[in-house]
């Protein structure tokens, strides 16, 4: 690791000013992803801006919903009474990710910025368009068991590794971003991007911006939420496929549904068509199977990950059955 410059900031305002000034600087919060990447020489920032002293660690209820500061820890949210009671999907997703130690380090903003676990991205001796634009995609014809089945192209078939993101996109979260001049708010669903022609970019955050807050609107899914994470061991492993499901029920009728997947695309993958299909239907296995089928439209395997074409609908079915308390 190069001996980078280090600066510890105390205020949000100064931080965004520093970001504007030092375009080669990276912010560090928990560090659990960034330091890992720096140790592997995947990234080598010459300046680190430590933002841990910024007052963005809050989790609080507001009129608009739940406000979560960008520096709130993942474990802090998962153990938070409001989150557990009103947004259990988020708590479940967070607890499905990483380890207790890492959840004690990882912030919300940092988790959103978490980079892919694609082996070709991590190994600097391999081609990777995400790490080194125009060097090729090692995974495309390589070992791609973990890789995307939705929205990928030949430039990049990597997936977003976060569990938290899957819950946040399902819950219609919004993100507040700030630069030295202005604040902007965007739908969480618009924050991450597909690889397209710029796989080196994971999201739409500008280099002079920082994430300051995540807002989750009130919802009626708390009684019927479930997060399924399918992986190669029973804990502490990245998802092959994960599914966040939230149902708002009136008797046996689905008034409203939220469905999203992880481990299947370059971004957390919301299943709008399946949600629309579910609306107004009765909860039962056949309905859920049909929703899973609809959700899989446009899916494409790349060889080793072909099994996800079967695993993903099975996981959607499982998540919906559990959310509806049918299994």
């Amino acid at each position: 690791m190069i001996n980078f410059d280090y600066i510890r900031m105390q205020s949000v305002k100064s931080t965004v000013k520093a970001l504007a000034k030092f375009t080669d600087a990276k912010m560090i919060a928990g560090g659990s992803n960034l330091i890992d990447l720096m140790k592997r020489n995947v990234t080598a920032p010459t300046k680190l801006i430590d933002i841990n002293l910024l007052p963005l660690k809050y989790i609080e209820q507001s009129k608009e919903g739940l406000r979560i500061g960008a520096l709130a820890l993942n474990s802090q949210a998962a153990d938070h009474e409001i989150v557990k009671n009103k947004f259990p999907l988020l708590a479940m997703a967070i607890n499905a990710g990483a380890s207790p130690q890492l959840r004690n380090m990882a912030s919300f903003g940092g988790n959103m910025m978490q980079r892919t676990r694609c082996t070709y991205f991590y190994d600097t001796s391999m081609p990777c368009n995400k790490r080194e634009p125009n060097s090729g995609c090692g995974a495309l014809n390589g070992i791609n068991r973990m890789h995307a089945i939705f929205g990928a192209n030949d430039n990049c078939i990597a997936v977003n590794p976060s569990d938290m993101n899957v819950a946040l996109i399902a819950l219609d979260a919004q993100v507040v971003l700030l630069n030295a001049k202005k604040e902007r708010k965007m739908a969480f669903a618009d924050f991450h991007k597909l690889a397209e022609d710029t796989p080196n970019l994971d999201n739409h955050l500008q280099s002079n911006e920082m994430i300051v807050e995540i807002l989750i609107p009130e919802n009626n899914f708390s009684k019927n939420s479930y997060y399924v994470k399918v992986r190669d061991r029973n804990s502490y492993a990245f998802a092959l496929v994960s599914v966040a499901a939230g149902l708002e029920l009136e008797g046996k009728t689905i008034k409203n549904a939220r469905l999203a997947m992880g481990g299947v695309a370059h971004k957390p993958w919301r299943l709008y068509d399946a949600e629309n299909y579910l609306q107004g239907k009765e909860i039962n296995t056949e309905t859920f199977k049909e929703a899973a089928k609809i959700a899989m439209k446009g899916a494409k395997g790349y060889g080793h990950n072909d099994f996800k074409l079967d695993l993903a609908p099975a996981s959607i079915l499982e998540a919906l059955m559990k959310a509806a308390h049918l299994s």
Binding site: D5, S11, S14, A18, N52, Y58, P100, M105
Partner: protein, 212 residues
């Protein structure tokens, strides 16, 4: 937990002379620490290693196992390497160096973290507890005694991390059943396979009403 909201009311102004990287910016930015790479580079170019070393380091005030240290650290030094190599507290282990095994688990202000994925410089003013800091006087910590009794280890290499994690697991309230313990101890890999004995050890401490 802070209840402050953003954006705060800040009056600090911002100017920057980038000749020394962050150096000049610091005072104005209310930043606390810095390390000027440009000066370092100049020093290296002149083969003046002492000068280089001087500028590569940042003062660090840290409390480890109840003892205060006033030291200097290179920003790139991890907390793990700091305790092992600088403080000679080698009870904290390096098993993967990438947050994938938990052998390096320590408590920072009472919370368990992977010390390999955090920088020493980020711990300014914090209280660190390592395996060497949990026994009191001439008595083992109840978790240490329970690991010994239940043979919760074999080679012993993951053990300090397991014990630090186990203490935190109970304190966090995630040790209410063997299956919850298994889930919330899954960040600590034991290749010898002492898992069932470790779970037994934690259950006993938990049932004994022990707290970290």
């Amino acid at each position: 937990m802070s209840n402050q909201k953003h954006p705060e009311n800040l009056e600090q102004d911002f100017t920057c002379s980038s000749r020394r990287g962050f150096l000049k910016a610091t005072t104005a930015l209310t930043a606390i620490a810095l390390s000027p790479t440009l000066i370092t580079k100049a020093a290296i170019n002149h083969r003046d290693e002492k000068l280089a070393a001087f500028f590569e380091k940042i003062p660090l005030n840290i409390e480890v196992n109840g003892k205060s240290y006033k030291m200097e650290t290179e920003p790139r030094e991890t907390l793990l390497d700091f305790v092992r190599e600088r403080l000679q507290l080698t009870g904290t282990k390096k098993g993967c160096d990438h947050g994938q095994c938990g052998a390096c688990t320590v408590h920072v202000d009472g919370k368990r973290v992977n010390s390999c994925l955090t920088l020493a410089v980020m711990q300014e003013g914090k209280k660190i507890t390592t395996i060497e800091g949990i026994g009191s006087g001439e008595k083992l910590h109840p978790m240490q005694a329970s690991f010994l009794k239940h043979d919760g280890f074999q080679c012993g290499y993951c053990t300090p991390g397991q014990i630090m994690s186990a203490i935190a697991c109970i304190n966090e309230g995630h040790a209410n059943s063997p299956s919850e313990i298994r889930e919330f101890m899954s960040g600590n890999i034991c290749r010898c396979g002492a898992y069932p004995n470790i779970v037994d050890a934690i259950v006993e401490v938990k049932n004994g009403g022990q707290k970290g």
